[in-house]
């Protein structure tokens, strides 16, 4: 009997939780705010689903009830992607080491 592909996805999911657990514990506490903004940005990879939804309309009706929600989701996720990565960039650029005084 073949294994349901769902089980493979579940395996990816569970293993990723463990990776997340160890990776996040190694994040230094002073970078917890950038951690939150960057996780925000990457969770917006949900835009992938939004793009599929947006392009699902046929050529006669680009906007149907389903694709409209897709288009809206594209904008929402895009706000997060651009906003999240840029604000993280801005924050990280501020973290500087003490200048070595000689």
């Amino acid at each position: 009997m073949e294994i349901d592909p769902f089980i493979f996805r579940l395996s990816i999911f569970i293993l990723s939780i463990f990776i997340g657990y160890y990776v996040v514990w190694s994040v230094t506490p002073s970078l917890h705010t950038p951690l939150m903004s960057v996780t925000n940005a990457i969770s917006s990879v949900i835009i992938v689903g939004a793009i599929i939804a947006g392009l699902a309309g046929n050529s006669e009706s680009i906007f149907n009830s389903s694709s409209i929600f897709g288009f809206l989701a594209i904008s929402l996720a895009a706000i997060n992607i651009f906003g999240g990565f840029l604000v993280t960039q801005r924050m990280l650029a501020m973290y500087k080491k003490k200048k070595k005084d000689k």
Partner: protein, 465 residues
């Protein structure tokens, strides 16, 4: 158009890049590279999605338009936002992830063919369950984050809103969500799907209103976690490994941050979520009606004390963020350093309104990060320091957390400010902090209270140094 297998491999690559993005945050030196990995991962995921659909018709142009509109808004926000407003911004971003998850789920429910999930009214059972969970968690994230945003922004009062039977009502709603999902799986009625969304929005709202302002670090982390689980739920529906990996990463990241924040307050997660403080405070606040004498001073006194010190530890708190005093503070420290006084910063895990809030503000004011220390790293140094300069913090220094088992903050790790030779408190008034308890430190012999706005006082001190 590229094959499904090839695109799956690219999604896996972008998932790995996201892991590296988080890994980079283990030190400030590697963090910028990490952020770059994150951006690459996102670029790959989006490009591959376009290629795998291969439909570059008019619809494609609209996708680009909506993408650019969102991107422009996001970029504008990212450049305009002041660092002190970071907690609100993150709460706002969480709500958007939640809403995007809801929209994708709606769209998949209305047009399952586009996602290979079966046909309308006959969606594959597994997909339907995944979709419903993703939509429900997304909706909870959305409405919960909106409340958190309103509270942080001060539009809504930060004090907890509680009413009788609240926990019972919440429990009933949560059960009803499960029931609705089960019914939905049985008859696939779209009405049930809308009901599920409405009920989930409602519970997100109800879950956050009883939680007070200073518990926001826990709430924000928790909502961060929820936004991840919502993304993972949708990832299962879309059979997309990038989304599943990211969802799991973000979900566990938020959960760990919530745990760290709860530990910083010595409270259990459920205690915070059920709105612990606020209801139990009456007894302790009635006690301190008696007036005890405090020594209050002015900028001149404070400057004198610090000038004669050889080491100073600064303890910033939410009050510093409110007064936007971080730049003035750094100028004061620069002057101190010119006089050969050793200065370091001590940060309590729950200082501010979100994890790492104080560190970002100090970094913004050009404070080098190797002068900023966490509680465990610096707590022993207070005994050897001459002056502790507490600016806008209160509860995190209260020795009652060690001495009085009756106190609501008993057991909370505190910064041992009391061990310093002298303590300076910059505070607007004698009012107790968020936990509603009096701080004995105010009345100690070696404490000098500086009643003023944090920014003005710091500037005054600098002038007098």
């Amino acid at each position: 158009m590229i094959s499904a297998n090839l695109s799956a491999i690219f999604y896996l690559i972008s998932g790995v890049l996201f892991i590296l993005a988080l890994r980079g945050l283990s030190s400030p030196e590697t963090s910028r590279q990490g952020n770059f990995f994150g951006i690459m991962g996102m670029l790959i995921a989006i490009t591959v999605t376009f290629l795998s659909i291969g439909n570059f018709s008019t619809g494609f142009i609209y996708v680009l338009i909506f993408l650019l509109i969102g991107g422009l808004i996001g970029a504008l926000i990212a450049y305009k936002i002041p660092m002190t407003a970071m907690p609100e911004l993150v709460a706002g971003f969480h709500s958007l992830v939640g809403l995007a998850a809801v929209f994708v789920a709606i769209s998949a429910f209305l047009n399952p063919e586009a996602f290979n999930l079966g046909s309308n009214g006959n969606i594959k059972l597994g997909s339907l369950i995944e979709m419903s969970i993703g939509a429900a968690v997304g909706a909870i994230t959305f409405s919960g984050s909106i409340i958190a945003f309103l509270k942080l922004q001060g539009i809504m009062s930060g004090s907890p809103i509680t009413f009788k039977g609240q926990h019972l009502l919440n429990a009933l709603i949560l059960i009803s969500i499960v029931v609705v999902i089960c019914l939905l799986c049985l008859n696939q009625s779209s009405n049930l799907f809308w009901i599920l969304l409405i009920v989930s929005f409602l519970i997100g709202f109800l879950l956050i209103i009883p939680i007070g302002g200073a518990d926001m670090p826990v709430v924000i982390s928790m909502l961060n976690s929820y936004s991840g689980w919502a993304a993972a739920g949708i990832g299962f529906t879309l059979e997309n490994s990038a989304l599943i990996i990211t969802g799991a990463l973000v979900g566990s990241s938020g959960a760990i941050l919530s745990y760290i924040m709860c530990k910083g307050m010595n409270r259990s997660f459920f205690n915070v979520i059920l709105g612990g403080f606020g209801a139990t405070e009456q007894s302790s606040s009635s006690k301190n009606s008696e007036q005890r004498p405090v020594k209050s001073g002015n900028a001149d006194d404070a400057a004198f004390l610090m000038k004669n010190a050889s080491s100073v530890i600064i303890v910033p708190g939410y009050g510093m963020a409110v007064a936007q005093a971080q730049h003035a503070l750094r100028e004061m420290v620069d002057t101190l350093k010119k006089n050969d006084i050793k200065v370091s910063y001590a940060i309590h895990p729950v200082a501010g309104r979100m994890p790492g809030h104080m560190n970002v503000l100090l970094a913004e004011a050009n404070v080098p990060y190797d002068e900023v220390f966490e509680l465990e790293e610096i707590n022993n140094d207070f005994a050897n320091a001459d002056v502790a300069f507490v600016i806008g913090a209160n509860d995190v220094t209260n020795p009652v957390a060690k001495t009085d088992p009756q106190s609501p903050i008993y057991g909370m790790p505190i910064l041992d400010v009391e061990k310093c030779k002298s303590v300076l408190f910059v505070k607007r008034s004698l009012s107790p902090g968020y936990a509603g308890i009096d701080n004995d430190l105010f009345y100690k012999e070696n404490t000098l209270m500086l009643f003023a706005d944090a920014k003005k006082m710091t500037e005054e001190i600098t002038k007098n140094l």
